[in-house]
Symmetry: C2
Subunit: 297 residues, 2 copies
C-alpha cells in the first residue's frame, strides 16, 4: 500500500520548474539554488523501525543514518540536518541520549544539526530531513545496458539479526548487532561511487526492490547471478535458501547498489536490454526476482 | 517541559561553523551554501494540533502553513517543502485530500513539494520541512531600544474558535472557522516587513511567549499598552478580561510580531532598556506579561 500512496503523491505533487531537477520520485530530490542541493526526508517509528532493546543513542544514530544513506545513494555530501521528535512518556528520559547519538554521527560526517521540533504523543516517532551538496547527482535512472551491478557490502545481516532477536536471543548473542542497531551509512562510498556510476540507490527495503526501481526508472532489465552472491556471512546461521532469501528480499542494511562500466566492491550482475529483474541460478535456470521486501510483501 | 527540552537540545547540538549563521535557536536556521537559505521544521499531530471536524484538505493546508509561517517570520521567501506523513487507519482514505490541501497552498506561494515519506501508525502525524531564500534574514534578536512593537493581525481568534467548538458549537457556528481550520501564513507580509524590521517572530504559541523570546534574545525589555490592543473582534463573544487573556496568551493565529523604527499594521507597544515584558493597563498600572501560552502553562 505504501507504494500505491507514493504513486498517488507523485501524481498530485507533480511540479515542473527549472529549479527542480529531480522531484519526488527518487532517494533525494535535486534542486538548483545556484548550487545543486540534494534534499531528503525519512521517518522512523518505535513499533516498525526500532528493534527491541535499542539504546537511546542508537535511536538517534539510526534516525540520522537513514537520511545520510539517502544522500549517499545520490552521491551527495551531507551538510545539514533537521529533525522532529515525538516522545512517548517512556522515552522522555532518553531524549538526551537520542540527541547525543544523532550528534555523534553528525560530527563524524561533518553534518550540522540546525533545527528541531519536539513534542509528545503515544509512540516514539522521529522524522529527519537532510540537505547535501551534489556535484554529480546519481539517480535511479540512467543505468546503461552493459553496466555491471555492484553492492558496497553484504546484505541480509540486519534481518537475520532481527529474526534472531525475535526468536529470544539477546543482543549480545545475535550475529550482527551493529547491522541492526547501528548501521553505518555509506557516505564516503557514495561520494566516491558517484564519480563513475550511472545509477545508484540504497538498499533500504530490499535488494529486489532497489533493483526493480533502477530497472524501471532506467528502462532496462537487470540480471544477477546466484554464483556471484556472497552468502557465507549468513549460512553459518540459516540454511542456504533462507540465506539467499535474506540477501534478496530483506531490508535494513543500508548498503548502496549501483551500476557502472567500472565494477567495484561486490559485483553481482549486469544491466541488459528489456525490462524486469532476473536471477540466474547456478544450474542456469532463470527466475524472476519479485518486487517485495520490507513493507512490501 | 517542551522548553526545557529545547534548552537541552541547544546545548547538545551546539555547532560553530562558518556556514551556519543562525543555529537551532530561532524560528528558522540560516545557512550559507553560496546563497543564504532559511531552514525550518514543524510537526503536527491529530490529538494536539488538528481540531475536531477538520477536513483532509485543511490538514494538508495547516501542515504546510505552520512551516511557511516560520519562514515568513524570518523574512524568507519559501521555495521547497518536504513532508513525512504517518497515517492511522481512519486517515488512509484522506491521504489524497491532505496532499491536495498541501499542494493548493504550495502553488499559491510558489513552493515546490519535492519529497515525502509515508507510513502507518496509531495517530495521524505530519512533519514538514521547508526551505526558503533569505535576502535579509530577521531573527528574534536585534530588537533595538525605541523600536515600536507591531502585529500583522488580530490575535485570539483561533483559540476563541477552538473553545467554541469544544463547547459544542458546530464549525459553521464558531466565530472564526478559518483562523482555526485554515490559517493563512503571512508570507507576503513577512517578506515586506523583513526590509525594515529589526526583529520578528510568528505568534504560534502566544503573543506573550513571542515577546519574551524577542526580549530575551535581544537583551531588551518590551512594554505593550492595553489601550492599543484591539479586542473588538473578541468582545462580542467573551468578556473583556477573557478577550485580553486570549489576545496575550493563546496560540494558533500565525500572525507575525516584529519590532521596527517604522511602525506598520497594528502597533501595540515599544522596546525599552532592561529586560522582561510588561503590560501597561489603562489605569496606568503595570503588570508582568507571563511566559505562558500554547503548551506552556
Amino acid at each position: 500500500m505504501e507504494f500505491d500512496l507514493i504513486r498517488l503523491a507523485k501524481e498530485i505533487l507533480d511540479v515542473k520548474r527549472e529549479d527542480v531537477l529531480v522531484g519526488i520520485d527518487d532517494d533525494c530530490a535535486l534542486v538548483d539554488v545556484g548550487v545543486k542541493l540534494a534534499l531528503t526526508t525519512d521517518c522512523l517509528h518505535e513499533k516498525t523501525d526500532f528493534p527491541k532493546g535499542i539504546k537511546s543513542e542508537e535511536v538517534g544514530h539510526l534516525s540520522l543514518a537513514v537520511n545520510l544513506s539517502d544522500l549517499a545513494s545520490c552521491g551527495a555530501k551531507p551538510m545539514f540536518f533537521l529533525y522532529t521528535i515525538t516522545l512517548s512518556e517512556k522515552w522522555i528520559k532518553d531524549f538526551e541520549g537520542i540527541l547525543r547519538g544523532m550528534k555523534n554521527l553528525a560530527d563524524r560526517y561533518g553534518v550540522a544539526i540546525v533545527g528541531g521540533d519536539t513534542d509528545f504523543g503515544e509512540e516514539l516517532h522521529i522524522s529527519g530531513f537532510a540537505i547535501g551538496k551534489a556535484e554529480r547527482f546519481v539517480s535511479r535512472a540512467n543505468a546503461e545496458v552493459g553496466d555491471r551491478v555492484c553492492l558496497t557490502g553484504l546484505l541480509g545481516k540486519a534481518q537475520l539479526s532481527l529474526e534472531q532477536l525475535m526468536s529470544g536471543m539477546s543482543r549480545d548473542e545475535i550475529a550482527y548487532p551493529n547491522s541492526l542497531f547501528k548501521p553505518e551509512p555509506r557516505v564516503k562510498e557514495g561520494l566516491e561511487i558517484a564519480k563513475f556510476a550511472n545509477s545508484m540507490t540504497d538498499v533500504s527495503d530490499s535488494l529486489a526492490i532497489s533493483l526493480h526501481q533502477i530497472a524501471k526508472k532506467s528502462g532496462v532489465g537487470i540480471v544477477i547471478y546466484e554464483s556471484k552472491i556472497p552468502l557465507n556471512h549468513l549460512t553459518p546461521y540459516v540454511k542456504y535458501e533462507k540465506a539467499l532469501e535474506l540477501f534478496l528480499y530483506s531490508g535494513g542494511d543500508y548498503e548502496l547498489v549501483f551500476t557502472s562500466k567500472n565494477p567495484k566492491y561486490i559485483e553481482i550482475g549486469e544491466v541488459i536490454e528489456g525490462d524486469g529483474v532476473y536471477l540466474v541460478r547456478k544450474d542456469g535456470s532463470i527466475e524472476d526476482v519479485e518486487f517485495r521486501g520490507w513493507g512490501v510483501s
